[in-house]
């Protein structure tokens, strides 16, 4: 408790300051006990038009033990300016050992969770609150919080990387990179004309046409292959923030909460599904932005290009910035004290108007930037809810 130390007594602005440090270890049993473990499942089939039973035994082992999380944090709690400002701040490092990571099966489809790595999450969390009073009738509170998160694979128990995700939309965990990062080609641009194609050995070798993607040849060997795939970002946000504002003026009160995140990528699989069927709708940005002649786009391929295998290689074309800002809710209320206003026996009343999620700002070309694990396979937009209410207290 710094604020009670002798040397601190002369500091007037800060009434309260505490430094904290902690270390702990806990087991995370919030994971499945096993994943794809050796199980025998009944199946039925048709033999000579008769239903007969069989059994299929899986061969994928995923006996899962607990993950062990070792956390270290240092932080401070402080109050300043007559208690008007309070600060809580922590820097944390959490290492998850025996982390259950999805491992792709060899030769087969699918993946299985195994305790195969150590993952580190570290970051800074900070909460600030300011309470103020302008007059006896008018007070306000402002709150802000943010946290940073750096997710990193520290160890994969000897393996250089582990593939996850699906074959067509590859995700890879590799030491030094965030868990399950998207992994594929980097789009350099769009081939604009035939001479560009003719002068590019990769384009000519693959029979490309103007309007096709130009993927970055990372090792500049004039061949596009697996060695040119790179990490394209992670679905894990690196920055989360939130804020609140409260105002009270006489009988009127107002509050608002905001939140947001940044630093994450969303896999727009709605665009990606075109590899299986051409019949999917495409979003407006893509439809309007398609390449349709020299100079029209250096970002999106031509309409026919969308439907060619070359352009369906997994690349950062399908990855979009997942940052968003949202007004989570806004409430305006008016309190009526019935007894004072009208007379004894009258109820107290509160009239209020609430807007839940009235506004979400994002650049992502989907309906909703909040998608689980960063993969958007069609999520409905989040509805805004507006409520007008009256509370009576008898």
């Amino acid at each position: 408790m710094v604020s009670e130390e002798d040397f601190f007594q002369g500091v007037d602005l800060i009434e309260y300051l505490k430094l904290r440090g902690g270390w702990g270890q806990l087991g995370n049993d919030k994971i499945a006990r096993q994943d794809g473990a050796n199980t025998t499942n009944p199946v039925y089939l048709a033999i000579d038009d008769t239903q007969v039973n069989g059994s299929v035994t899986t061969s994928t082992f995923g006996y899962l033990g607990w993950e062990t999380v070792t956390g270290t944090n240092v932080g401070l709690t402080a109050e300043m300016f007559d208690g008007r400002l309070s600060i809580e701040s922590d820097y944390y490092v959490r290492d998850t050992e025996n982390a259950a990571i999805p491992v792709s099966l060899k030769l087969q489809a699918g993946s299985v969770l195994r305790n195969v790595g150590t993952i580190r999450n570290q970051g800074l969390e900070m909460v600030l609150n300011w309470k103020g009073k302008i007059s006896s009738d008018f007070s306000y509170t402002i709150g802000a919080n943010f946290s940073t998160l750096k997710n990193e694979v520290l160890d994969l128990y000897g393996q250089s990387y582990i593939n996850g995700g699906s074959a067509e939309f590859r995700q890879r965990s590799q030491v030094g990179e965030p868990l399950m990062s998207f992994y594929g080609y980097e789009v350099e641009g769009i081939y604009q004309n035939q001479s560009e194609i003719d002068n590019d050995p990769i384009a000519s070798a693959n029979g490309l046409v103007p309007g096709d993607f130009k993927f970055r040849d990372q090792d500049s060997n004039d061949e596009l292959n697996d060695d040119d795939k790179v990490f394209l970002g992670s679905y894990i946000p690196t920055f989360n923030y939130g804020g609140s504002l409260g105002l009270t003026y006489k009988n009127i009160d107002f509050s608002m909460n905001i939140m947001g995140q940044a630093g994450n990528k969303i896999l727009n699989r709605k665009r990606g599904e075109i590899i299986w069927t051409n019949d999917t709708n495409i979003d407006a940005d893509l439809a309007d932005g398609l390449w349709n002649g020299e100079g029209t786009s250096n970002k999106y391929p031509s309409a026919s290009g969308l439907r060619r295998g070359w352009n369906q290689n997994f690349s950062d074309y399908l990855l979009e910035d997942g940052a968003f800002f949202r007004i989570q809710n806004v409430q305006l209320g008016y309190n009526l004290k019935g007894a004072e206003l009208i007379g004894e026996g009258m109820p107290d009343a509160r009239i209020y108007f609430t807007a839940e999620r009235p506004l979400t700002l994002f650049k992502y070309n989907g309906f909703n930037p909040e998608v689980p694990n960063g993969i958007d396979r069609q999520f409905y937009p989040v509805p805004a809810v507006y409520t007008l209410g009256l509370n009576l207290k008898f």
Binding site: G54, Q108, N163, G309
Partner: protein, 510 residues
Amino acid sequence: MKVKNSFKYSVPVIIAALLMAMVFGCTEKLDAPFEDETFTSDVDYSNGENMVLPLLGAYHGLYTRGWEEPLTLGIRGDDVNAAGDQVPMQEQDEFKYFPSQWNLNALWQGHYNDIVNVFTAMDEIEKYRPAANNDALADQYLAECRVIRSYLYLNLARAFGGCIVIDELDNIQNTPLSNKAEVMQYIVEEMDEVIPNLPGVNPNKRPDIPGGITSYTAYALQALAYQELEDYQGVADATSEIISSGEYQLADDFYHLFKKAGKLDDEIILEFQFSDFDQGEGDRFGHNFSPFGIGGWTPKVEGAGAGWGFYEPTMKYIKFMLDRGETVRLETSVVFTPDGITEVQNEYGEIPEWITNTNREGDVFNNNARLNFASGKFIQPSTELIPGRTGFGSNKNLIVIRYSEILLMYSEALTRGASGNSSLSADDAVNLVRARAGLTDLTDVSTQDVLDEKLAELGTEWGIRYYDMVRTENTAELSHAGKTFTMDKAYFPFPADQIAELPQLEEGID
């Protein structure tokens, strides 16, 4: 106050005690399995009769093919066009291959899923062996599993030019890639080992699993492997076993062989069985035949589901058949739309009157943006749907290997100088197939005659034509309708995703 005080003092003590307990007690807990964990499965291996369950599980794996698999294997020949909106299939039809094409990976993984499935099924069969107390039966089941596995490897090696032949499931990472010849040799040897353990009957005579694997399924796979190796004496020997067994007969009615009446026909060596179990709703076990079907049809039975139109017999095939004066085989293999009929008339000239856009059963095939012709061998007439079922091809079987293919393989081998071990000459074998198709006998058949006969007889089935042309390096035939085939396009590239997982695939095949 007293209560509060004692609380005040006891809290730190309790916390300290808990912490100590954590240090000493918890570390062990973190390593232990979950409390009610049972890591071994609860399967009761004491009931020997259940030994058939894992075997049937292996059949289940074999029968449940993704819709894209027969298409991917079938579209590259000059007998079939990829139609519809499947980009990778259209590209592959034009011999444009990319490791990223999704259907290649699906084909690969679909086959390996079932290969791995066979390994575990064999383990399970061994666990039942003591209780079953019937070594011959256990050995037979294992042999059936190995035939299933070999069939899957055969497809993979013919499609990709090689594959990984799994030795141990947990050693896949270190198992080297086998080229096509090595895989074929493996299949030949596997079949040699399993044939003595299999029943020597037509599959439809098996009382326990009608339509299951028999020794002749194994001989057929062996013959196909020998054929890929261009070991024609091997082909002649293996096919002779099938022919001289007398277990197989060509179906009299070619048209209905591919319909409901053809289920478990004497001609069939291997078929994937499906059924609605003769009920209008409830359980069914089916294959998705939709890609073979056509979008705009007017089915005789109202409400019968339409297809997707992904698989189209080529104009080249149709002209070839018309040139030969084919009737029932053309009728069975090709479904015509009005636009298709016009196209043939424009490109070929006069065509026989029997060609219409209505099948025998009364289904009308209308003009369609995706294709002008559809593949009749895979189209079930709406009248064969069990009332209540509307899914396209529901209740239809998928034929894989037919006796006619064996006869023609035998014949070709003989024209190449191999000696047969049956009473049939090369001419006899071809003429059996021709007679069933209503054609006159040939004499002194040449290899080319047989290959032509194979195209007429087996067109649109499983890429058989494509493999024949690759084997004979006939790039000219495969280069049709503006497509150019060269021998370096004989095999699909390994799927990108597999290369990323398994470094041994990176080098490609030698």
